[in-house]
Each structure stands twice: as C-alpha cells, then as structure tokens.
Amino acid sequence: MANKMVRNAAGREVVTEINGQPAVPFKGVGKYKPEGRKYAPRISSCAYYPDDGDKRVKTIKEALVKAGIKNGMTISTHHHFRNGDLLANMLFDAVNELGIKDIRWFPSASFPCHEHLMQYLDNGTIHHIEGSMNGPLGKYVSEGKMKGMAVLRSHGGRYQAVQDGEVEIDIAVIGAPMADPFGNANGLEGDSACGLLGFALADSQYADKVMVVTDNMVPFPCIPWQIQGNYVDFTVEVDKLGIPERIVSGTTKITKSPDRLMLAELTAKFCDAAGIIRDGFSFQSGAGGTSLAVGEFFKAIMKEKGIRARFARGGSNKYLVSMLEEGLVDYILDGQTFDLDGVRSMRENPRHVWTSPFTSYNYHGKGNFAPLVDVAILGATEVDVNFNANVVTHSDGYLLHGIGGWQNCLFSKTVILPLPLVRDRVPVIIDEVTTLCGPGELIDVIVTERGIAVNPLRKDLLEKVRDSGLPLKSVYELKEEAERICGIPEKVQLDDKVIAAIKWVDGTVIDIVRKVKIEK
C-alpha cells in the first residue's frame, strides 16, 4: 500500500497516513488550528468499583484480563524509571503469555533497558511503538524491522495527542513508587522513587482502563496523590518496579570534559552578555553534562552579581536544588528528577514543584509554561544553516533518540544549543538536517567551541552581544570550519521506506524518518 507523500510547510516530504490513520502535514509554527472537542473517556460509576476502595488485583496479567485486553489495543507506559524500568518488560511478558497480538505500545519514552521487548516486536505481540526511542529499539526500527510506523512526539505533543483523541489509550499502566489500594500514587517515596509521575497524567485522565502498579503499597491515603485514584481501575503489587541506580543517579556529576565545560562557559557568558541573566529571570537547562555545567556557570554569575531567578524548569538535580536552597532561585518547576537530591527536595520543599506535560508543554491548551521561560539550553544531533535542528536521528540516518520536551522548550524566549562543532568527524552544522524536529525560526543561538552563531532573525540579541568580545561567527562560517576539519560529508543513502513520523507539538507531521540501508 503506497502512502501518499506531500511536501509540508517546512519543505519536508511527509506521509499523509500513519498506520492507517490520516495525518496532517506541518503547516508552520502556530498555523494549524484544531477544531472540535477534546476526547472523553467513558463515564464510570462507583457502583462498579469496590465500596472499600480496594482495587487490588493479584497480578498484572489478571489486571490485563479484567481490563478486557484484546488484539490491536493501545497500551501505554511511562518512562519515569528511565533506564531502570522493569515494568514495561514485565507487562509485555504478560501480554505475550496471554497470546495477544498487534498491540500499539504507547510509552512516553523507551530506553535501552527495553531491548527485551524486541522479541515481542519480532513475534507480533507489539505491532508498533509510538513514543520516543533511545538506543537499541531505535536501531531496530531504523533497520525497518518493525511492522508499523513509529510515531515520535514531544512530551507536550503526547499530552496533546491523548487529549485530542489522536491516540485512544485502551489500557494505561502506571508504575508508582508509592500507591494505595485505591490507586492514589506518587513518585516520591520507596525504592523506586523517581520524583514525580507527570508523564502519566494524560493517561490517567483519558485512558479507558487505568492500572497502577507499585512495589510500595501503603494504606489509603497515599499523600500526595500525584495520580488520583479516582481515575484508576486496578492496583497491582509487584516486588520490584525498577533498578534504583538506573532510575535516578545517586549523584549527578558535572562533566569533566574540558571541551564541554568550555561550551557551557561560553553559553553562560553569552547569556550574561545578552542581559538574559537578570533579576527575576527564568531558565531551563537539560540533564546532559554540558547543561549541568551551564547551570553551575549561571550560578557563579548570579552569585557574583547578586541576581535571583524567579524560577528554573527542571529536570532537577543536586545542582539546581542547591540553587533553590541557597536562595538563588525562587521555584523549581520540575518535569522530572535526575538524582536523589532532586527527589528529596521535591518531597520536602514546597518551592520544588512537580509539573506535568499539561501545565508545561501542551500546545492545545490555554497557554503553557514553556514560552514564559527566558532561556532554554538544549541539545541537538545536527543543526543546519537555517538553524533547523534534529534531535532524533544521527547523521547516518539512525533513529537513536527521543524528542522529550525539546520541541516544547523551543517556545522559550531564547533558545540556545551548545554543541561541539565536530563530534568524532561528524560535523554538527550542515546544509540540511537529516530529520527536522525543530524549525529554525525558533532556534536563536548555536554555541560551539569554535564560535557562536546567532540566528539573523534575532537582531536584538546580535545587537546586545556585538561588543561583548565573544567569538561571534555566522552559521556558514561555522559550517565551513567543520567541513575544513572533517571533510565534506557524502550524502547519506537511505531507503525509500518510511519507518517513523515526527510530530510537531500540534500533532501535525513535521518530518519522517526513512529506513537505513544495510550492507549485505
């Protein structure tokens, strides 16, 4: 069956149909107008739920049966346990044992620990994955081995897709580090503590059946209820949900790489020169080594100048927590916690607030927090001369990363990508990105070890940093420098088969990913 391809507003050729459902091509930032009403799950009644509030079922398998699992259903999971997750693997072991086929797996993200599930993609238990893929599953999909087409969405885009009814979840499986038999749950306590459960919010609200699985069942009430039991059908106790040291690290460490530190320092200097670091400002910096270091350089500047930020967006970690505790930041609005200090702070400090993709990122809402952030410091695998960026594929075409909150954060007032210009002979600035994930009009600055390029659209920024002594260059100069070092790359040959669609924050298709060519 040939899938009709059209050119979208970003000039990318995209599919018009994804796994049999029609898809809208990207129309430009803010151009797509949704119509109609939000999706609504069926009405439930207390009459059909236990009067004593005890919704416990013995096993995941039993809960699946009670939820009416059938071939072709959509089952969702969440990546709160990151690379330490055991739940998705247990879940699909049960699905497989039940002989169910063609499941659409809808995780908020998958990790290398889910390599175990490849066998279920092979044997038809799972038809396809809609969710970010990090590592082996991405490789599997890139090589064209998955039956259906993968769909990648941002965290906000995932909420939007569920809310708009683009993805109807039949069974949501929510792993909870602490829960009560009624289904109230949070991520704050227990061996699998991960901080918060924000990624599961949409699923709890909109899925047909909701199952909370915990390895730390407490008597009612589980406080705070990050997930409200009133949405929950079944609760299940298991021995162990995750491997703690892979869920959150005991201690996050700032990079020791001199090159990354240099990028971080340049980024902070740029923000300082551009007047971004000022009293009452806000920032978001990711969890990678460079991003952590940016935070530390911010801290030094803020301390020196006596500046206090109004809020910082998490991923939180001990460095951000120390800024909160030292009074350099009024609030952390957290999307996920990356270390034990982050979890502790969220548990103890009312100014360390758990958020969800609904509040932070959902584009089909009455506003969200992302555009209120003064500066977001993000990563990318590639950027092109039009400042378009890629976060999902490598330059050789392999789909190895998820979008995360990246697309959503592009709406911050200033978006900075600190990137090494050359990564082991891979030039990071190129003519055209392999996969478009973020339109260049939303990306303001690229900081590399060999110079800083400001998007010409941001004349205001250029004006502010012109005399700063920072090594400003055009994006073309940087591209040429990368090519001088690496050589001009050959055009990567890809297969015609489309293996994944990349959604924009509004549910339209911004790009697709093609199968890689594998040598015989």
Binding site: M262, G487, E490
Partner: protein, 405 residues
C-alpha cells in the same frame, strides 16, 4: 620480517582514532575492509585515502582491515604509514598538507606560563587542545606513549603538527630519551616545531649533540627558523648540573623541573606542599636565571583540586618560576591567572615605565620614581610586566582582541 602490522587503537572508549591491520600479499590486488562509525558519511573517502596511501608506498597487493571510530584523515594517514613501515623499509613519507594556520613562528622571549601536555598517540585530545589557549602545546612522544606505540606515535605527532590548528600556541614536542630522541627529532623537526622538550636531561653534552643534530636536520630541510630547547631536569644529578644544562647551547630558552621522577630519584613521596623538592626547585630557578632562561615548574597532578593548583602556582611564581606544565585544559586558565601580574604590580610597573620615558625625554641619565632611584634592569622588568599585562588583556584601555581569534 613481520607479515601483519597492527597500528592505532580501537575499543568502546576509543574515539577519533582507528585501528589498521595490514597484511601485504603477493597477489590479489588491494582489498580493504572498512568498519566505521562514520561510514555513511565518509566511507568512500576513507577507502580512497587508504588505497591512494598504499599506492604511494608502491604496495599493489594487500589486505587492509580498517576499524574506524571517527578519525580525521591525518590520523588515518599516520596509522597507515606506521603500518606500512612496520612491514616495509622505505624513506617515503605520507604527509598531509601543511595547513596555512600552522606556519606561524615563535620567539625566544615569549611567555611560557602554561604548556599543555597531549599524549602523542591519542588523537581525540589533539583537535580542540589549542582552543583552551595554552601558551604552549606539548605533543608528547615520551612517557604518555606506551613503548609498543612509540613508532606509530611519531607519525601521528608529525601529522598533527601539519594539520591541527593549535591557535597560536607554541608548538612543542617532548622527544624520547637517548637514541630514540634523535629519531624523533628527524621525524618532527621539519614540520614547524618551535621547541623541543628534552626529558630527564642530565648532561650538557647530550643537549649539545641534540642541538647539533637539530641544526643538521634543519639545514637538510632548508629551514632557517631557530629551534628552541627546554631541557627537563628530573633527577638529583640533573639538578646538580642545572646551570651547565641551561647554558649548554644558545637555543635553550627554558629549563623545567619534573617532580614525579625527581622525587622518585630521591626516594621520597611527592606531596602537594612540595617541601621535599624545595631545594631542587630553588636551585633550578637560580640556575635558569643565571643562564638567562625561563625556569618552568612541574605539572600539578590533582586535576580536580583547583584551589591547590592555584596555591601551588602562586608559590611557584613567588619562587621565580615563569610557568608550569598542565595535564588538563582546565588547569590552563588557573595557571595563567596565577602567573599573571597582580593589579598592584601592573600599576607600579607602569609608573616605572612612565618615569623612564620622561627621564629619556628630558635627556636625564638617571631615572627616579619619587625619591627612589631606578636601575635599568628594574625598568626592563617593569616593561616585561606591562607587556605581559597587555598580552593577558589586563590593561583595560588597550584591549587585545587576539584572544578570541
């Protein structure tokens, strides 16, 4: 005669390098098997480079296994040349182009506060080293290279000298001791090396021989430029002979002390406080000053302890040292700022220079500042301080934009 040569490095932690296995055959043409992280983007160009390289050495039949982790072409060329030369005797050199950015000269009197050691067989550390603005880059052929890798490191260092932009840092090579050092010289000198570090130096004769050898290599290659030497004193005997070594040949511009080996020679522990090497360090400073060369202090090995590094560097400066070695780029700025003149020093120096200028204008033979007479050496030192302050951008009115090039 060996049949198969293996050069370079591979493994999960290896980046920007490649491992080659070369087997020369008697028939069957050239067969190349390439595994590379960047195959989709550079596969054809890597294969072409290998084929051309083998052709350059007149090898017509061979099997070449390339395991690449994103090496740049100059690395591929070095690994190939090393592999070929393990199997075949040839004087041909497979040279990458000399990049325009790498032809700048050095000068005898330049500052040598921070000199960054780069292991000579680790290409991943080379590309960005110059971006951290050390005064000098040392491509090390000695202690940081495993004995089995000495041969191949030489080609890599030579190619790096031609291709890697060190952004104005003084281009230094630390050669091996003894006979191997002479071989190293022959390989690297024609490629705009500014300074040779001579390890474990214990005699002026050895240095003289090296200098003679260097002169003849430079003459053979028609190079007019001076080559400087920085002997490293790393033993009790070396310390005793420091002055003799420092003044052995005219082109010695600095002498350095290497405390790891020195303390081992003494049979004592090296400490952060450094009391055990106090005599050696002071003696070395004195010898250097007597010979009119720069005394340079040892490296500080605890990379994570910036405060201790700062304290060591300040102490070092107070002893009279004019620089230190760095083993990590993050040490560079700490060392530079520690050796940089303090605001008070700069202020005083500019007053002295100003007074000298005024005296000159008035045709006065004697310079005085306030009630104090100023000797000419004091003026010279003040000028040096101003010069230094200007170079380090410490004089706000005359910004030096070169730092950001």
């Amino acid at each position: 005669m060996k049949k198969v040569a293996v050069t370079g490095n591979t493994g999960p932690r290896i980046r920007s390098d490649c491992e080659l296995k070369l087997e020369i055959k008697s028939s069957g043409g050239i067969k190349i098997n390439l595994e590379s992280r960047v195959k989709a983007m550079y596969g054809n160009s890597i294969t072409r480079l290998m084929k051309d390289g083998l052709g350059f050495f007149d090898i017509k039949h061979a099997f070449l296994d390339v395991n690449d982790s994103g090496a740049l072409p100059f690395v591929h060329m070095a690994r190939l040349e090393a592999a070929v030369k393990t199997l075949v005797k040839t004087n041909k050199e497979l040279l990458p182009a000399m990049s325009d950015s790498n032809t700048y000269p050095s000068e005898r009197e330049r500052f040598r506060f921070s000199r960054l050691y780069l292991p000579g067989n680790t290409p991943s550390m080379m590309l960005n080293a110059g971006l951290h603005s050390p005064d000098g880059i040392i491509l090390d052929l000695e202690d940081s290279v495993a004995p089995a890798k000495k041969h191949e490191a030489r080609f890599l260092v030579r190619n790096a000298l031609r291709q890697v932009n060190f952004y104005g840092a003084e281009r230094m090579v630390r050669i091996n001791q003894g006979e191997r050092g002479f071989e190293d010289l022959k390989c690297v000198l024609p490629h705009n090396v500014h300074l040779i570090l001579v390890p474990k130096c214990e005699s002026s004769e050895y240095l003289k021989e090296l200098a003679k050898s260097a002169d003849s290599i430079l003459a053979d290659n028609n190079i007019k430029q001076d080559i400087f030497f920085m002997p490293i004193i790393e033993s009790a005997l070396g310390v005793e002979k420091a002055y003799e070594i420092a003044s052995a040949v005219n082109n010695v511009v600095a002498i350095a002390i290497g405390l790891e080996d020195y303390t081992a020679d003494l049979g004592v522990q090296r400490t952060n406080e450094g009391n055990e090497s106090l005599y050696a360090r002071l003696r070395l400073v004195n010898a250097a000053k007597a010979a009119r060369v720069q005394p340079i202090d040892s490296v500080f090995s605890d990379v994570s302890d910036t405060d201790a590094l700062k304290a060591t560097a300040k102490l070092s400066k107070s002893f009279g040292f004019e620089g230190m070695g760095c083993i990590h780029p993050r040490q560079i700025q700490v060392i530079k700022s520690s050796f940089a003149p303090e605001p008070e020093e700069i202020k005083k120096a500019s007053e002295i220079v100003q007074a000298f200028r005024e005296a000159e204008e008035k045709g006065l033979g004697v310079v005085s500042l306030g009630s104090k007479m100023i000797d000419l050496p004091v003026v010279a030192r003040a000028r040096r301080t101003i010069d230094l302050a200007e170079k380090l951008n410490l004089i706000p009115d005359e910004p030096d934009n070169q730092e950001n090039e």
